[in-house]
């Protein structure tokens, strides 16, 4: 994995329509991957938040190509396919975008450990938010351990996702 990540603060214009659709397409793919039945005991509950990884990556490097409306649609589609109350994932992804966008300059063109640390903080916040939301929606104190395991799994899978997304980005959009 390249230690230095691609991207600049002011993203260059991309003409290629395939490249322009890449952020949305990969985020949608992450959604599909996260509902795949993996036939591994206990996996369903601990599935890493793949969609969050894609959203984090693209919000840092190409926020212009993953607009809020696209993100909203992806979130709603994930909610509907996963059987989660509609709006939950959309809300989480949009809030994640808002937070990452605000601190974006700290992560563009930084060494990977910085980017990873940023994702760790984001995941912590997102998982806590999700847990609180579901406790409120279901009116019971949901077991917190599942949330912790899921956060750990999500953070530890991020380097692979980041590598793949970075590679795809460089292939289709070229280096920054």
């Amino acid at each position: 994995m390249g230690l230095k990540s691609a991207g600049t603060l002011a993203p260059q214009h991309v003409e290629n329509p395939v490249a322009r659709l890449l952020p949305i397409a990969t985020t949608l793919l992450a959604t599909v991957i996260s509902i795949q039945p993996a036939h591994i005991p206990g996996y369903a509950a601990l599935t890493p938040a793949f969609t969050l990884m894609a959203v984090y990556h693209w919000t840092i490097y190409r926020p212009d190509l993953l607009p809020p409306f696209g993100l909203f649609l992806v979130g709603i589609i994930q909610d509907l396919l996963a059987g989660v109350p509609p709006g939950v994932t959309a809300l989480v992804l949009l809030l994640a975008r808002a937070v990452v966008l605000r601190h974006r300059r700290h992560f563009v063109n930084r060494l990977f450990p910085f980017v990873w640390a940023g994702f760790m903080m984001l995941t912590g916040g997102v998982m806590l938010f999700l847990w609180t939301l579901h406790c409120l929606l279901d009116g019971v104190l949901v077991d917190f351990r599942g949330t912790v395991f899921r956060a750990v799994l999500t953070v530890s899978m991020f380097p692979i996702a980041s590598f793949l997304l970075g590679r795809t980005q460089r292939t289709f959009m070229g280096a920054d």
Partner: protein
């Protein structure tokens, strides 16, 4: 938005973000208040996506088969031994079952008992799960076109998996017995105790509303009681696995995360689950159907 200049687009995105956050939050609240509101949208999205999900889920399933095969190969000797012993035991059981079946038939004849409704099966492949800690459901690639109906039981050879909670024309969602909203009336065999098997999103659902003096032991079999009219009686569900904590926990017979094919079973009981009515058409009277309230709906 494509024709806009980059600064204008950025400005629009800034305005769109809070609006969409607000919209999502509203959807969450509305969906909570009226759980039926988004059902048709959910069903149509699921239907549209089901062929793609079916194709996409095959490579992972194939990989799973490969690892299974490798494991089988390693364990072939022990498996053979175990199966030979099991076969001997089962042959004895077969004799017992044949005797009981003929005795049963004679007794029914004597009592002029009306036969139970014929059961039909639909075998369906699992194409998606809920992928998260807060919902336990599966999506299967069979829908109303294949005869799947809301409320039907989903089983495997080992036992109960859950019940059909939403049906599209090509795909359906099965709410697992471990889901927070799942309530299954059961009997604990042995003490013959009635209870409600209540999911809480953990791997082991718990037994609620047991009698105070109920003597439940670890290892007691748990089967459906048939109360409420959704599941037929005596479907195997699981065994009592632990007695610590507030209520006993049940280990389901079916390894729910490894299910690849399941059978949707129509026992002619599906009518037991009333169709949910959207709040708008309920008018002033709020007539909550009893079985629906008892069994929980998503």
């Amino acid at each position: 938005m494509i024709g806009l200049s980059p600064p204008r687009r950025a400005a629009m995105q800034r305005v769109a973000l809070p609006l969409l956050v607000l919209l999502s939050a509203t959807m969450v609240i509305l969906g909570k208040a009226d759980q039926v509101m988004f059902e048709s949208l959910r069903v149509s999205v699921t239907d549209t996506a089901s062929p793609a999900l079916d194709v996409l889920s095959r490579p992972l399933a194939a990989l799973g088969h490969l690892t299974d095969r490798a494991r089988d190969f390693v364990a072939v000797y022990e498996d053979n031994h175990r199966l030979a012993e099991e076969n001997e035991r089962l042959l004895n059981w077969q004799q017992a079952a044949l005797n009981l079946a003929s005795e049963n038939a004679r007794l029914r004849e004597l009592l002029k008992l009306t036969p139970e409704p014929a059961t039909t099966f639909i075998t369906a492949r699992v194409i998606a799960n809920s992928g998260g800690a807060y919902v336990r459901s599966l999506m299967v690639h069979a829908g109303s076109e294949n005869g799947v109906e809301r409320g039907q039981a989903a089983v495997t050879g080992e036992g109960l998996v859950g019940r059909v909670s939403e049906v599209g024309s090509r795909a359906a969602r099965v709410l697992l017995v471990t889901d927070l909203n799942s309530r299954v009336p059961v009997i604990v065999e042995g003490p013959q105790q009635r209870a409600l098997l209540t999911g809480d999103n953990s791997e082991r659902p718990c037994l609620r509303y047991l009698d105070a003096g109920a003597e439940i032991k670890v290892g007691d079999r748990v089967v459906t009681s048939g109360q409420g009219g959704v599941f037929p009686p005596r479907l195997p569900v699981g065994v009592v696995a632990s007695l610590d904590g507030e209520s006993p926990r049940v280990e389901p017979y079916v390894e729910l995360s490894r299910v690849e094919y399941l059978r949707i079973v129509d026992y002619g009981l599906a009518d037991g689950l009333p169709k949910p009515v959207p709040i708008a058409s309920r008018g002033g009277r709020r007539t909550e159907p009893l079985a629906g309230a008892q069994l929980g709906r998503r």
